[in-house]
């Protein structure tokens, strides 16, 4: 068994519009190892959601996805057809979306969702249907694990009868019922209130240690990433700007953009008189700057930055897409 559960190499995604082709992800490489949480941090429009959706093949028809390789648990997803891919989704690969309300069918009970999810994995988990009620027992146990003690009642309820936090917990339970090997979570706490967000993050932290799934965790929130992730990839304008362990990225970021992000996030937690700004705005997809995409906003921009930068391996084993660091590769 290789060390990596998921290997993505040279992933390129573009959207075909009537008048143009917009490249929103260009040359993204990353790995998710067995049992780890890889965080993808980025602002809106950085390509983090599109990257994950492309792995689950959930993008709209006008998206063109090309990759050298998307290696998942022994199969190359970049080469397999939709028919070959279909059995993976919702079995070994699962996704948790930002909006828990939209993830449930509003006219069906929570129990209905659990039943159908159980049916989907009936082949892999025959014990769920060994007795008439076995799937229900398992569902109650899984709900208890995510902090919903009275599971039997919950299974009879409809989504609108539950609060956002409870629904997000139920959704996590639903995904656990599948026992996927990789869970993709796209900003699962962004729509929730502070207290509930904190509880869900604590839940993920607990789960990380006692289930054997790997996570691909998308967020724009540094403190959420700090609590959960083992490694972090920082994305900017469709490229990975920097990749490393969570501690490295959050305490000693190297790329000027990650430095800015970490600094702003840290400053607002402390009592400061004035926040340091990252000047400028995110680039427009139709007129991306030449070379390094962060160049117009970068305080360290110099000659050479107008050339396309590749991800460099630094002498201390970090990967940064920036001219400031010597490539030892």
């Amino acid at each position: 068994m290789s060390e990596n559960l998921l290997e993505v190499r040279n992933l390129r995604i573009s959207f075909q519009l009537r008048d143009a082709s917009i490249p929103v992800v260009e040359g993204v490489d990353f790995d998710v190892r067995h049992g780890e949480v890889l965080g993808i941090i980025g602002e809106s429009g950085s390509g983090k959601t599109v990257t994950c959706m492309s792995i689950l093949r959930l993008l709209p028809a006008n998206a063109v996805v090309r990759a050298e390789r998307i290696w998942f648990d022994g199969e190359d997803l970049a080469r397999c057809s939709d028919d070959e891919f279909e059995p993976l989704r919702g079995r070994r690969l699962a996704m948790i979306f930002q909006d828990p309300v939209g993830s449930f069918n509003p006219v069906k009970t929570i129990g209905w969702h659990f039943y159908h999810v159980s049916r989907r994995v009936a082949h892999e988990r025959p014990e769920l249907f060994s007795r008439r009620d076995a799937w229900r027992k398992e569902a109650v146990a899984v709900l208890a694990r995510v902090g919903i003690p009275h599971g039997r009642q919950i299974l009879r309820q409809y989504p609108h009868q539950m609060s956002g936090g409870m629904l997000q917990r139920a959704l996590v339970a639903l995904v656990l019922q599948l026992r996927p090997v990789l869970i993709v979570a796209d900003e699962p706490t962004t729509n929730l209130d502070n207290i509930v967000e904190h509880q869900i993050i604590e839940l993920f932290r607990g789960l990380k240690n006692d289930i054997h799934s790997s996570f691909l965790f998308i967020t724009h929130n540094m403190s959420v990433a700090a609590k959960l992730c083992d490694r972090i990839a920082v994305m900017y304008a469709g490229q990975i700007a920097e990749m490393g362990t969570a501690v490295e990225i959050l305490t000693r970021p190297k790329h000027p953009y990650s430095q800015g992000l970490v600094r702003t996030s840290a400053e607002i937690m402390r009592r400061v008189d004035r926040l340091q700004e990252i000047p400028g705005e995110l680039p427009n997809w139709r007129s991306l700057p030449e070379g390094c995409r962060f160049r117009p906003r970068c305080a360290f921009a110099r000659q050479g930055c107008e050339r396309e930068q590749s991800l460099r391996l630094t002498s201390d084993g970090r990967e940064v897409r920036c001219l400031l660091y010597e490539d030892v590769r």
């Binding site: 602002e43 809106s44 902090g147 009868q161 539950m162 609060s163 936090g165 409870m166 917990r169 209130d193 502070n194 207290i195 509930v196 967000e197 904190h198 509880q199 604590e202 724009h220 540094m222 403190s223 953009y257 800015g260 992000l261 702003t264 996030s265 400053e267 607002i268 937690m269 009592r271 400061v272 004035r274 926040l275 340091q276 700004e277 990252i278 000047p279 705005e281 995110l282 427009n284 906003r297």
Partner: protein, 347 residues
């Protein structure tokens, strides 16, 4: 900061009707939702008051009531000494100039078919603030003030990024030199790298003009950075209000404590159970007694009977809790107590 407060809210109640006609007559459940429930709050001249609370706590409705975008059911809203809670739209007109607002989503608050210069010039023309010959000049100076170059004059909203749009929205609010600005989640939709720019812009504007602001947010860090005082809302009630640093150093209401614990740098404190019951959907039936009763780890029998009145806990620091004097003591064995409550299957 001396003198009378600029905005003085007294026992404000805002109710929304949820059922009408026969449906209301036949239904056994209440026909209205009380979004703002007997709130009294004073906003002093030259201060930025932060209003925090979870979604559905009534903070946006309170802001809209001050703007008279929703009709208050009872209570008073005194602006500069005058009760505006029930003024007619006609008599509100002069006030509209003094009170301006900025919403969460700048794209939907700007007319997509109007250029930036139209958006900024319209309020000037409507209120006849400056001579029509000087409107252009005024628009340029406002653009400059919010950090946009004059080239943006002729752009349409869809051509601008989120941060630039929010700058235009702020500029539009500033054109009339208002005395009071209500910003409702004005930085929540912005990206992290742009948020700092806009927060600093708010700070600069407040410092240079001395205007008062009501800053509604769910982000405690943002509130701490910008606001001089913070009010905490829960389920329609204002439960605690105090100077920012004091509130962060010594939160008194159990809900404020739970809220602040979620952002605490102190990991040990954050991992303690915060609430007796975690997830809970309040209904109209829970309007008897303290609104926080069911989730409160330190509740007493009397909390179920009547909502606690505001109690002065320090200069400018008020809290609506019977037990606040004990919170500091109790917090030490709070964890043990919550666990015990769970064991006996507490409601």
């Amino acid at each position: 900061m001396t003198g009378a407060p600029l905005v003085d809210i007294l026992n404000l109640v805002v109710r929304f009707r949820t059922r009408r006609g026969l449906d209301a007559a036949l239904s056994r459940t209440p026909t209205f939702v009380t979004a703002v429930d007997d709130v009294s709050l004073a906003i002093k001249r030259g201060e930025i008051l932060g209003l925090v609370g979870e979604s559905g706590s009534g903070k946006t409705t309170l802001g809209k009531a001050i703007l008279r975008l929703v009709e208050p059911s009872s209570g008073e809203i005194r602006f500069d000494g005058e009760n505006i809670a029930h003024l007619s739209e006609r008599r509100l007109r002069p006030l509209r100039r003094k009170v301006q607002t900025i919403f969460q989503d700048p794209l939907s608050s700007l007319n997509p078919r109007h250029r930036v210069s139209d958006a900024l010039a319209t309020p000037l023309r409507l209120h006849r603030v400056v001579e029509s010959a000087q409107v252009d000049q005024k628009v340029d100076s406002v653009l400059e003030r919010v950090g946009l170059s004059p080239v943006f004059r002729d752009r349409y909203p869809h051509e601008l990024s989120g941060g630039q749009l929010q700058r235009v929205a702020i500029g539009r609010a500033l054109t009339l030199n208002p005395d009071f600005l209500i910003a409702d989640e004005a930085v929540s939709k912005l990206d992290v790298s742009v948020r700092a720019q806009i927060l600093n812009l708010f700070k600069d504007i407040q410092e240079s003009t001395g205007m008062s602001m009501l800053f509604i947010t769910h982000d405690l860090h943002v509130a701490r950075y910008l606001c001089t005082r913070i009010g905490v809302m829960y389920f329609g009630k204002l439960v605690e209000v105090g100077p920012t640093e004091e509130l962060f150093r010594q939160p008194l209401h159990p809900y404020t404590r739970a809220l602040l614990a979620t952002i605490g740098e102190d990991a040990a404190q954050a991992s303690q159970p915060l609430l007796a019951e975690e997830a809970f959907n309040p209904t109209e039936d829970d309007r008897i007694g303290c609104r926080f009763y069911k989730r409160c780890p330190i509740h007493q029998p009397r909390c179920a009977e009547c909502h606690p009145p505001f109690d002065a806990a320090g200069p400018g620091h008020q809290v609506a809790c019977y037990e606040w004097k004990d919170t500091a003591k109790i917090s030490k064995h709070r964890a043990a107590r919550v666990t015990a409550d769970r064991r006996v299957g507490h409601p």
